[in-house]
């Protein structure tokens, strides 16, 4: 039995790629494509759940393609971190697909609905691949795949803004992957391997001699993957892409697509280069600076936005800042919190985008000022929005608070207390731009004029996925202790 379970990661990717992406286009009936894909998503989620339990009980395992171990074969390393993130990814995608099942027709043309689901499956497959893989080049391919799929779910709406945003995204993304490929070329020239563990051994053996080369390659990786995950100064593609995409796509883009490269980056840092080298180079400080400025500048930018989705997109920039900040702290707790924040933010941001999407869908407005009094018309949806926003602001017990708290502890551990100010300032800024939306939504006499209670709210059936997302978010907040312990058991350091 355990052998079969160890096959699950591979099976999920295969299932998604073959059935979801390649075979379903052959089906003519649109609704069947949708149903098949959702079914595959659910299966994937189930399998991931099983794997999660398995890993929790029996520990990490390695899946070898075709029984070739490294260095020759490609291997998947399935440990707690991978499986937790994979679980989150598949859960979010499933929920988003479920949500889209009711509402995606309103945003994109009907003939493209099937296309959208196929791209979703493709995206999930590539993302899972990035998470699992222990082979740099394999990772690169999955990365490119994810970029293309992500581009696909942006342009699926087929408005001119989408095209423009997608081009911007694609252009930068290819630049980024070019840099990653360059980096791979450099480390390959040093080590002659592609499997992460073997590269590491080779690097350790020759680190002194090839230090400059290593440094160049690590910068290339950092910047390349940083572009893909919207690290602060290279975030310029993100607001456009996330704003213009259909809301479910935005949820996926913000929740998942920018997270996968971070996992890849973490692997490259700690599995490929190893803690000693990463710590001795200054790359972590660089991450810290970028992350810290991102945390503040992202929030500052967000504060000025007039469009709801754009605001949430900029908030993503800030939240990515937290993740890079956690990595940049360079200690175990920081890294754990970076991963924890990936989980937390993935859930939070997707439910934020979905609820924002339903505002836009039901009212037709886009600007924040038009959403005054929305709480009267759509109380449940705004409630979900509020909960998620509170998490980002950092109300205790919700995951946003947990990660902030632990990041702060981590920064105290690393002896940089002044970083606390950055964290707190950022969360304060979060409050500054999220609270007005909530307050204007629920209260205000002039706002509530002419609004009828629950007049525009969606049927609760259609909101179930969003509610589930929110519940999951609260759950990982409440169970942060076990979750953090679980991550700690598989951390790369």
């Amino acid at each position: 039995m355990s052998r079969i379970i160890e096959l699950f990661p591979f099976i999920t990717i295969l299932l998604l790629l073959i059935f979801g992406a390649f075979l379903t286009p052959l089906i003519k009936k649109k609704s069947s494509i949708v149903r098949t894909n959702i079914a595959i998503n659910i299966i994937t989620m189930m399998m991931n759940l099983v794997t999660l339990v398995y890993v929790n009980n029996y520990g990490t395992f390695i899946f070898k393609f075709g029984h070739y171990g490294s260095p020759f074969g490609i291997i998947f390393h399935i440990g707690p971190v991978e499986v937790a993130i994979a679980m989150m990814f598949s859960f979010v995608i499933t929920m988003v697909s479920w949500y889209s099942f009711y509402s995606i027709e309103k945003e994109i043309e009907e003939k493209r609905v099937g296309f959208y689901y196929i791209l979703n499956s493709l995206l999930l497959a590539s993302l899972l691949g990035i998470v699992y893989t222990y082979d740099v080049f394999n990772g690169y391919v999955f990365l490119e795949l994810s970029t293309l799929a992500a581009c696909g779910i942006i342009i699926v709406k087929d408005k001119k803004e989408n095209i423009k945003a997608a081009i911007k995204y694609l252009m930068l993304s290819t630049l980024g992957s070019g840099l990653v490929l360059m980096g791979i070329a450099f480390i390959y020239s040093i080590s002659g391997h592609l499997s992460m563990e073997y590269i590491h051994e080779a690097i350790v053996a020759s680190s002194l001699a090839k230090e400059n080369l290593l440094l160049i390659s690590i910068v290339l990786f950092s910047i390349g993957l940083g572009i893909k995950s919207a690290m602060f100064p290279m975030h310029v593609w993100l607001p456009d892409a996330h704003t213009t995409a259909p809301s479910p796509s935005s949820a996926i883009l913000s929740g998942l697509v920018i997270k996968a490269p971070v996992i890849f980056l973490i692997k490259i840092y700690y599995v490929v280069y190893g803690f000693e080298f990463v710590n001795s180079s200054r790359i972590l400080q660089l991450m810290l600076i970028f992350g810290g400025t991102g945390m503040i500048m992202g929030s500052l930018f967000a504060r000025r936005q007039k469009y709801l989705k754009r605001l949430i997109a900029y908030s993503s920039v800030a939240q990515m800042g937290y993740i890079f900040f956690g990595i940049g702290l360079g200690n175990e707790l920081g890294l754990i919190m970076a991963i924890y924040h990936i989980l937390a933010h993935g859930l939070t941001k997707s439910s934020l985008f979905l609820s924002a999407g339903s505002f836009i869908e039901q009212t037709g407005f886009k600007k924040i000022e038009d959403f005054k009094g929305i709480g009267k018309e759509m109380p449940v949806t705004l409630g979900i929005f509020t909960l998620s926003a509170l998490s980002l602001i950092g109300i205790p017990v919700l995951p946003g608070f947990i990660s902030k708290w632990n990041l702060a502890l981590a920064s105290i551990d690393s002896g940089m207390i002044y970083l606390l100010i950055v964290i707190l300032l950022s969360s304060l800024l979060n409050a500054v731009y999220y609270f007005p939306i909530i307050i204007n939504g629920y209260f205000g006499e002039d706002n509530l004029d002419g609004k009828v209670f629950k007049s525009k709210s969606k049927p609760i059936k259609e909101l179930i996925p969003v509610i589930l997302l929110t519940l999951a978010m609260i759950a990982i907040g409440f169970m942060s202790g076990p979750v953090i312990e679980f991550i700690r058991s598989g951390i790369y350091m």
Binding site: P396, V397, A408, I412, I417, L428, G481
Partner: protein, 487 residues
């Protein structure tokens, strides 16, 4: 089973608030009855919990060593919970009448009851983290009360309130983070967490102390974080009364006490000289509140600034770091609650009965609202600190604390501010009783005292003010237990 009884006062208001929020569960006509029942029942539960708890420790959720929500009922918590429970009853009765003209009663009662739960949580919380959670939730649950009018001004003030609160929370978190990384434990222990004083990096301890003090000081309206309080006066009067007397500012004070005496401990703070940095701010708070209050023509604003000044007294008492000072601070916490709630109730009655809000409008009104103005007079005499009212008792204790701390300056400040207090409160009484109204004739006396539901709480409170002044030993003995525990 016993545990459940103990946390009942925390749960009951939440359940009832949910029940109230639906007009199907609680019909409109039973609304007030239900609220009254809840408030009384909860007070009974509080009494039950306080008397039968035997310092029990109730862990609700323990995620890990810091994410540990647990309740612990000690003397200080009892003091605070009694006060809150009692004043909540009075306020709810007052609101039954008053809120008729404010409208949106259901929404008001939902959050009114919900805030009760938060206050109970604050008073029973056993560690800093739980306290902090309830503290944040308190901000959120009082916010709808503040913006009850839903006007533009109300929203603006509400925004100010919430921003200030979160700035404060940010400071608190900052301090808590450092503290937790030092101590690894944030449970309240009388006299401070053991071993925290041995930590070598004193600057770090000092930073965390100051940051947390300032953070909690936001709710306690400490300069320069005070301006939300006058702005929050747009709220309906019972809300302002509650905000001032118990709910918000006193929770700030309570948290300050908890933090100073149950986390760091007076010894450590003396060693760190933590008080030296804060005293100037506190003194500024006291004097500034009084002086700016003198400039206010709006009755509620005047009272708001007065609150700022009085809170300064309490914080000063806390920072004296000696038994008398703390006793004075706690006494003043209680006494000021009773006094300020009376003042606000009277001001509310004036507005309710006549629609007047400014001091220049109320000339000669005391002749028509005899009882209300007498209550106002008693409360203001007490606030100035003239015996035999309770305000004097607490000021006396504070004065003794100041002497014990060898700081005559504190007394001078206290007395100076008391003089200013007289200067801003007595004109109201004088205008009410002794100034002639615009078109007043002899014997032309209208009965403008508010209806019974509003009048009875006011009278009860003023009687309590005098009784506590005549027989303060009841409270002093209660507080002595705390003092012994802490020092």
């Amino acid at each position: 089973m016993k545990n459940i009884l103990v946390i009942l006062p925390l749960i009951l208001p939440i359940i009832s608030a949910v029940a109230i929020s639906s007009s199907k569960i609680i019909k409109d006509k039973y609304l007030k009855l239900f609220v009254a029942a809840v408030v009384f029942l909860n007070f009974a539960f509080i009494v039950n919990a306080n008397i039968f708890s035997d310092l029990e420790i109730i862990h609700v959720i323990t995620v890990n060593e810091f994410l540990d929500i647990y309740f612990h009922i000690d003397q200080l918590g009892k003091l605070f919970s009694y006060m809150a429970g009692f004043l909540w009853i009075l306020t709810s009765f007052y609101s039954f009448e008053y809120m008729k003209h404010e409208g949106k009663e259901r929404r008001y009662y939902v959050f009114f009851i919900l805030t009760f739960a938060m206050i109970m949580g604050i008073s029973y919380s056993g560690n800093l983290f739980t306290l902090y959670i309830y503290y944040e939730l308190l901000t959120l649950s009082t916010f709808p009360l503040v913006i009850h009018a839903d006007s533009k001004e109300a929203l603006q003030s509400g925004k100010k309130y919430i921003i200030y609160s979160f700035v404060g929370a940010t400071f608190i978190i900052f301090g808590m983070m450092i503290l937790f990384s030092i101590s690894g434990n944030m449970n309240f222990i009388g006299g401070g967490i053991k071993g925290i004083g041995e930590y070598s990096d004193k600057t770090l301890l000092l930073i965390s102390f100051l940051s947390m003090f300032l953070g909690f000081g936001v709710k306690a309206a400490m300069v320069p974080f005070h301006s939300w309080l006058p702005a929050a006066m747009v709220a309906p009067t019972p809300v302002s009364a509650l905000l001032h007397a118990v709910a918000v500012v006193k929770s700030g004070i309570f948290a300050l006490t908890r933090m100073t005496y149950y986390i760091y401990g007076p010894m450590l703070i003396k060693e760190l000289n933590g008080d030296d940095y804060l005293i100037p701010l506190v003194i500024a708070t006291i004097v500034m509140g009084s002086i700016i209050a003198l400039h206010q023509d709006h009755l509620k604003k005047r009272l708001a600034y007065s609150t700022i000044s009085q809170l300064g007294y309490i914080i000063l008492g806390i920072l004296m770091l000696n038994p008398n000072g703390l006793a004075g601070a706690l006494m003043h916490m209680i006494n000021h609650a009773f006094i300020k709630i009376t003042l606000f109730f009277v001001v509310g009655s004036i507005t309710y009965m006549t629609g007047k809000k400014y001091i220049h409008e109320i000339n000669g009104l005391g002749k028509h609202m005899n009882k209300s103005f007498i209550a106002f007079f008693i409360a203001s005499v007490s606030l100035v600190g003239i015996p035999p009212t309770n305000g004097f008792v607490s000021k006396w204790m504070l004065g003794l604390g100041a002497m014990e701390a060898n700081q005559v300056l504190y007394i001078v400040i206290l007395l100076f501010s008391a003089f200013l207090t007289a200067a801003y409160l007595f004109p109201v009484v004088i205008a009410g009783f002794f100034r002639r109204g615009d078109d007043e004739k002899e014997g032309d006396r209208k009965e403008l005292d508010p209806p019974r539901l509003m009048m009875v709480p006011i009278i009860m409170l003023s009687v309590i003010i005098i009784l506590l002044g005549l027989f303060p030993n009841l409270v002093i003995n209660f507080i002595d237990v705390i003092i012994v525990d802490v020092f």
